[in-house]
Amino acid sequence: MDVLDLARLQFAVTTNLHFLFVALTLGLVPLVALAQTWFVITGRERFELMTRFWGQVYLINYALGIMTGLVLEFQFGMNWSGLSHFAGDVFGAPLAMETMTAFFLESTFLGLWIFGWRLLPRLVHLALIWLVVLTAYTSAFWILVANSYLQNPVGSRVVAGRLVLEDFGVLVANPHLVTAFPHVVGAALLSAAWVVIGVSAHHLRRGSAPEFFTLNLRWGVWLAAGASVLVFVSGHRSAGPVEATQPGKFDGALTPVFDSMMLIGDLLGLFTLLVLLPMLWRDRLAGARRFLGALVMLVPLPFVASALGWVVREVGRQPWLVHGHLTVAEAISPGVSAGAVLVSLVLFTVVLGALAATNVVLICRAAARGPERVVLGAPPVNVTEPAIPSVGGGAA
C-alpha cells in the first residue's frame, strides 16, 4: 500500500466510526428533548425517567463523536493539505462555521445541561437540551454543505489555479445538499428509533419495567415510521441530482452496495408501517414476546444501511476529491511519508476501535440495566461518597 491508499484507509476508518456513532447521537437527542418537554408539561415522573434513561445512553455515545470528530478535523490538514491549498477558500468556510456556530455552542449547552440537573430552573434546563438539538442539526447541516460541495462544486470558480467562493447562496442551495441533508437526518432518526425499539423489546421480553418500556416502544415505532418515510422520500429525490452531475455513480462495483442499502431501508420501512404500527393498537406489540426477540436482532440494520450509504456517496466520488477539479491523488499532503501515515493509521484504528467497542459495551450495559439504575440527573441523595468540604471561597 502506498501513502495514498493508507491515507484513504485512515480517513475511511475514522469517518465511518464518526458517522455511525454520530448518527445515534443525532437521532437520540430530539427524543431526549421531547421526553423532557413532556415531563415539564405533564409533570409525570415516567417522562423524567425517560429523559434520564435515554439521556444517559446519548451521553455515553456523545463522547465517541467528539473523539472521532477531533481526529477527522485534523486529518484534513495532516493528510490532505492539497485540498486546503486548492479549495480551502470554499471548503474551509462550512467547516469553520460548523465548529463555531454548531459544535462550540452544542458542547457548551450540553455541559450545562449535564451540570444543571436540579440546579437550574426547569424551563432553563429544558431550553438547554433544545439548544443542543438545534446546534447538533446545524452541525450536520454544515458538514453536509462541505461534503455536497465535494460532490458537486457549485458557487465557486477557479481563479489563478485555486477555487474561490463566488456565491454563498448557491453553495447552500446545492441540489446534492438539499436531498442529502434530510436523507442523513432520516437515517440518524431511524438508527436511534431502532435502538429504542430494540432496547424496549429486550426489556419487555424479560418482563422488566413493562409500563415504562411499553411507552418507549410506542415512541420508538412512531419515530421509526416517520424516519422511514423521510429516508424513502429524500432517497428517491436524490436520484435526480446525482444522475445529472455524477452519471453512472451507482454502476459497476457499487451496484450491490447501493441495492443492499435500498433493500434494508425499504424492507424496514414497510415492516414498520404495515406490521409494527398496526400492532401498537391496544399494545399488542408489547405483549408479543417471541416477536419482540426478533426485533432486537434488527437493531444493527439501520447502521449497516448508513455505512453502505456512506460507501456509495464517497467511493462513488472517486477518483475525484473535488468533483471535476481535484483528484484524491493530487490532494495528498506533499512530504508526508507512507510510514508516518501507517503509524498514525494503526494508532488511530487501535485507540478509536477499542473505544468504539467499549462504547458499544457500555451502551448495551446501561440500556440493559433498566431505568431504575440511571445515574444521570439522579437526586444527590443517591450519592454515597462524601462531598468535598467547601474550602477557600467559590469566586473565580
Partner: protein, 259 residues
C-alpha cells in the same frame, strides 16, 4: 481587516490555552489533586462538565484556522505530523478516561481510567510543547521542543491546580496554593495568562505568515456573518457556564450523577 481576523483567531487560540490548558493541567496533576480513589473521583466528576466547555476552544480554533488560513492549516498540520498525532491520541485517551470512569463498577476499571486521564493530560501538554518547539526552530525533532514540552506541562499543571483551588475549593489544590508567596499569585487569571504566553509568542511571530494567507473577501464576508455572532453568543454562554461551575464549588455531588 486581516488584522481584525487575526485577533478573532487569536482569541480562540488563547482561549484554548487559557481554558483548555486548565483542564489539561488538572488531568496531568490528577495524582497530586486526588490522593485516593474517592478524591480522584471528585476531581474527575468536576472535570467532566468543564472539559465539555473547554475542548470546544481547540476544535473552534482549528476550524477557524481552516476557514481563515487554509494553506497554513495544511502546512502546519502535515508539517508537525508526529506531534499532531501525539496530541490527538493523548487528547482522546484523556477524554475517554474522564468519560468512562463512572461507567464501570470495579476499582480496577476506575483506576485504569484515572491513569488514562493523567497520561492523556501529560501527553497533550507535551505534544503542545513539542509542536511549538518545532514551529520555533523549524526542526520537527529538537532539544528546544523538549524544553518547551516541560515548560508547557509545568504551566498547564500550575494553572490546573490554581483553577481547582480557587474555583472549586478542592482541598488538595487549596493546600498546595495556600503558601505565603504562592497564595497571592495563585489566581486563575494570573496562571491563565502565564499558560497562554507560549502560544501568544508563537502567534505574534507568525502573524505576517498567517495574514498573508487570509482567504478571499467573499469568504471573509460569509465568515463574518456567521462566525462573529456565534463567537459572541458562545462567549456569553461560556462565561455564564464558568460562573455556574465555579460558584457551585465544582459541584461534584451533583455532577457525579454522570461522571
Amino acid at each position: 481587516m486581516n488584522e481584525l481576523w487575526l485577533v478573532v483567531f487569536g482569541v480562540l487560540v488563547v482561549g484554548c490555552f487559557a481554558l483548555e490548558g486548565a483542564a489539561v493541567g488538572i488531568a496531568l496533576a490528577l495524582p497530586v489533586l486526588g490522593r485516593d480513589e474517592a478524591e480522584r473521583g471528585q476531581v474527575i466528576a468536576a472535570l467532566g462538565p468543564m472539559v465539555l466547555l473547554t475542548e470546544v476552544w481547540l476544535v473552534a480554533a482549528v476550524g477557524l484556522l481552516f476557514g481563515l488560513y487554509p494553506r497554513v492549516e495544511g502546512e502546519l498540520l502535515s508539517g508537525l505530523y508526529p506531534w499532531v498525532v501525539l496530541l490527538l491520541v493523548a487528547w482522546v485517551v484523556r477524554d475517554a478516561g474522564v468519560w468512562f470512569r463512572g461507567r464501570g463498577a470495579s476499582a480496577r476499571w476506575r483506576h485504569g481510567c484515572e491513569w488514562m486521564v493523567c497520561a492523556g493530560g501529560v501527553g497533550t501538554a507535551v505534544a503542545w510543547g513539542l509542536a511549538l518547539g518545532a514551529l520555533a526552530t523549524g526542526d520537527v525533532f529538537g532539544l528546544v521542543g523538549v524544553v518547551l514540552a516541560l515548560v508547557v506541562a509545568l504551566l498547564f499543571g500550575v494553572h490546573g491546580v490554581c483553577v481547582a483551588a480557587r474555583s472549586w475549593g478542592g482541598p488538595r489544590a487549596v493546600a498546595l496554593v495556600e503558601r505565603p508567596v504562592v497564595g497571592g499569585l495563585s489566581r486563575p487569571w494570573v496562571s491563565g495568562v502565564l499558560a497562554s504566553v507560549p502560544v501568544v509568542v508563537a502567534l505574534a511571530t507568525g502573524a505576517e505568515y498567517l495574514m498573508a494567507d487570509t482567504v478571499g473577501a467573499g469568504t471573509l464576508a460569509v465568515l463574518a456573518v456567521f462566525v462573529l455572532p456565534a463567537l459572541g453568543v458562545g462567549a456569553v454562554i461560556q462565561w455564564w457556564g464558568w460562573r455556574l461551575l465555579s460558584r457551585s464549588g465544582g459541584l461534584p455531588e451533583r455532577s457525579r450523577s454522570f461522571f
